[in-house]
Subunit: 342 residues, 2 copies
């Protein structure tokens, strides 16, 4: 049986950004130790933008080659055919061979820093696509970023940027359910309403309404203790200006800079880290993959209790994955951005 | 008995920087619970420059008022008269009422974040001025900065900036005696020779010889794990570019920016903190004053063993304290800069 599949490829890198095309490919049947997966949902993450350039930064996940399948994007699907001992047809799995409708994957081969290694998921416990959100790398990043990297302590006042986004909305909610005062920021009035009305944050602002430092000061007049950074740039500078003695910033991403061709200057107030004994710590969820079972257990519990809600923006059709990415980077999606393949 | 003393005062803050004058003052006799100290050595530290401006940064040590004694500068001296139980004439003490020849001090009153609270020193164990260097706040800052704030781990490659300075030279030597590969940087060929020949560092460079990032790459081609920052600016940016995965920067000072009237942009490569899971942590030695006994014990042992040497630049005469500060900020002193009062 010959199976034809579709893959999204980068057609070219131009000054305006990446251009994509849909490639029709012949799907390779699984060899020994491999499985064939029919993908059902694939992920759209801000970090993809970092990798979608001719020379992706050294040390991050690999950049995407032109005219090649985009490896290293989390995806869920069903096993169609298995020649690996641990997997059988009908198994629900997650893996990192995303932005395509079929993938032939070697069981046990590490992918995406270990996070994307083929594994079975429990599709009865939660909808499969939740494993691309709170039960997967997104939940892991939020959880370890807030609790371990930022070292959340009782009484901390927490600011989360991009708080209506996939990671930010989970961070903000974990902080809330632990009893913290939480300020969220986002890029539209509708998102601010979502933060206040749906996620029940203590304060929220639209970063387009003025200088971020001023908006933050109004939202947290006595300062903050923890900043969860998804944005970088003026947001990080505002946080450094507002962190109280011993404050901590978990640096998760810097979406404000992802489109920039040239490096942008960093925060001009970094000396305040000395005067106020601040810690800025960058991290990647994939380095904490050993904590995934604990994260999944806590997240599933909070979701079942109704204490954690997750919002999705779903775009239908594999061929629309680039469009979904553009919408997300333009700030026009809320919660986790997903592509439903079939 | 009426005693006349001299104090250095700020006469004015001008665009060119602070102007000083020597004030003749009537020394107040000690009241109950107070001691009168004749100062013998006073300290000259880069951080003074931060405080010598009309509006010193909030959250740091207080700025210096015009026409007032300069409080909060570490100093050693001998008790002349005591009306406090725990002190007697002839005691050697350290305190924070510096840049004057006599000081009337309340015993137990906290000063300089606790670090400058009046305390007796053992002038038999070491020369009194060593308590302004390795046995005092300088040693404390170096010790906790390297071992605790930067979290030195076996095998770490360490870069110390301003490594011929008071703090830097101790940091570099502690790292060496613990068996680390240590790179030092300084601002002159003579200092670089001092780092290589006297302190026995593994590599050293003069930061004026080219772009710091290039010089660092040549000195540490495989990167670094720990950066001890006394300089900020291009040095910190170079460190962020060279730190390996999980690397740490202890932010102690930013002498490159102390003269600036306007905030300067921060490192343009801060996103590398995310990709490489870097930690930048600001700190102040005074927050760790509870560890002073341990620091003094270790430092005294290393000095006695000949494993730690300390270098001093001594300027004679209280009235020359401003000159000593200017020399130090111009990079023309080596090791700890001290003023010998009498």
């Amino acid at each position: 049986m010959s199976l034809t599949g579709r893959e999204i490829h980068v057609a070219a890198y131009t000054r305006g950004g990446p251009e994509f095309r849909v490639a029709e490919v012949s799907v390779r049947p699984p060899g020994r130790g491999e499985v064939l997966v029919r993908n059902t949902w694939t992920s759209v993450d801000p970090g993809l933008r970092v990798r979608l350039r001719e020379h992706a930064p050294e040390g991050y996940f690999d950049g995407f080659q032109v005219d090649a399948p985009m490896d290293g994007i989390l995806t869920v699907g069903e096993v169609v055919e298995s020649r690996a001992d641990a997997f059988a047809p009908g198994d629900h799995v997650w893996h990192a061979a995303g932005w395509r409708d079929y993938a032939t994957i070697r069981a046990g081969a590490p992918a995406l820093g270990g996070l994307g290694t083929l594994r079975r998921i429990d599709a009865d416990a939660a909808p499969a696509q939740a494993y691309l959100g709170p039960l997967g790398g997104i939940g892991l990043t939020a959880y370890v970023g807030l609790l371990e990297v930022a070292g959340l302590q009782d009484g901390d006042v927490v600011w989360v940027s991009a708080a209506a986004g996939a990671v930010g909305s989970i961070v903000a909610q974990i902080a809330k359910l632990r009893g913290h005062t939480v300020i969220g920021s986002a890029g539209s009035a509708a998102k601010v309403a979502h933060l206040l009305d749906d996620l029940r944050l203590d304060a929220a602002f639209n970063h387009r309404d003025g200088p971020v430092a001023d908006l933050l000061r109004a939202a947290a007049p006595e300062g903050i203790d923890v900043y969860f950074d998804n944005v970088g740039g003026d947001h990080l500078e505002a946080a450094i200006g507002a962190l109280r003695r011993g404050g901590r910033a978990a640096l998760c991403g810097a979406v404000s800079a992802y489109d920039a061709d040239e490096p942008r200057p960093g925060p001009a107030n970094l000396f305040r880290a000395v005067t106020h004994e601040l810690t800025l710590r960058g991290f990647r969820g994939s380095a904490h993959v050993h904590r995934l079972p604990e994260v999944q257990r806590d997240m599933a519990g909070w979701i079942a209790d109704g204490r954690l809600r997750y919002t999705e923006t779903v775009v239908d059709g594999l061929e629309r994955a680039p469009e979904a990415l553009a919408l997300m980077l333009a700030g026009r999606t809320t919660g986790k951005t997903l592509v439903r393949i079939a």
